[in-house]
Amino acid sequence: MDEKLSRMKEYLEECVARCTQARTELLADDRGDEANFQAIQANIYGIFSTILNVAVEQNLGDPQGVEGFFQKKLEEIPGNWANAYQKAEERGDDVAAHLERLKLDTAEEVGRTFREIWRAEG
């Protein structure tokens, strides 16, 4: 489990670092909204990084427990974003809908990567 855990942590840390760097560059290039997209994504990677730490603390030596905890949060947390996305779509607020979609896509990507790493052989 240690290797999978460190791979997952490394992935999340790299994502945060990449988004932070991209945000700085986009701001310097007068692309404020795209810089904001990066900040939003960095926050989401950061949230799941924290959740992974909590999952490990609460399930020491239990890879299935970690997986169950993390998967549960991957389903629970984006729930609010899905609702906000739905509401934004209903009122025709395409800009807000885009931001909520971005959060959902990022969470989906985290989930996909988690399953790839956690279910890999070895």
Partner: protein
């Protein structure tokens, strides 16, 4: 264009990606994927920017076969910044009220019992006082200098300075036949 719309437009334009999109659309109408490929942005990002540009009235869209095409709203960009600045302010009434309050404050400070306590040293304040004095003159009449002096002496002993400054400020005009109130004094 209202002030709110102008602010929305300027905020929207203050972004490099959106400016690049507009520059592309200035060349020809384009669809999202074409803009994304041209500007090296994701289609989702281009869509986001196009929504903001559409909200600001900078672009519009239309269907063409399978595509939604985006076009520059050229009428908006024919508007000059000076046109926007010359639009009447939504705060015009408020500003007029503030100006009136300021005028009244100056008059209250310099007039006492219907007499001018002193001639203001500040030009802006003096003009307000002189404008008030100019109301004592009938716009349809020509006044001999003596009568001008008599009217102004009711307000201050230094009527010569008042008369001279009223001419200097363009509130009274002088000719061989005498003085008359100008339109500026109205």
């Amino acid at each position: 264009m209202t002030e709110r719309e102008a602010i929305g437009l300027f905020k929207c334009l203050a972004d490099k990606s959106r400016l690049q999109i507009l520059k592309s659309l200035a060349l020809e109408d384009m669809y999202v994927e074409r803009l994304a490929q041209r500007l090296d942005l994701t289609a989702a990002t281009v869509s986001f920017h196009l929504k903001k540009l559409a909200q600001a009235g900078a672009v519009s869209s239309y269907k063409s076969q399978y595509y939604t095409m985006y076009a520059l709203n050229r009428a908006l960009f024919d508007t000059t910044i000076l046109d926007i600045l010359q639009e009447e302010s939504e705060e015009a009434d408020l500003q007029a009220q503030r100006d009136a309050d300021y005028r009244q404050h100056v008059l209250d400070s310099f007039f006492q019992d219907g007499r001018l306590k002193s001639i203001p040293a500040q030009r802006k304040k003096e003009r307000i006082v002189l404008q008030a004095l100019a109301q004592q003159f009938d716009p349809q009449r020509i006044y001999p200098e003596q009568e001008v002096n008599l009217i102004l002496s009711r307000y201050h002993d230094d009527f010569c300075t008042l008369r001279r400054d009223m001419v200097g400020e363009g509130l009274l005009e002088r000719g061989p036949e005498g003085y008359w109130r100008t339109k500026q004094a109205e």
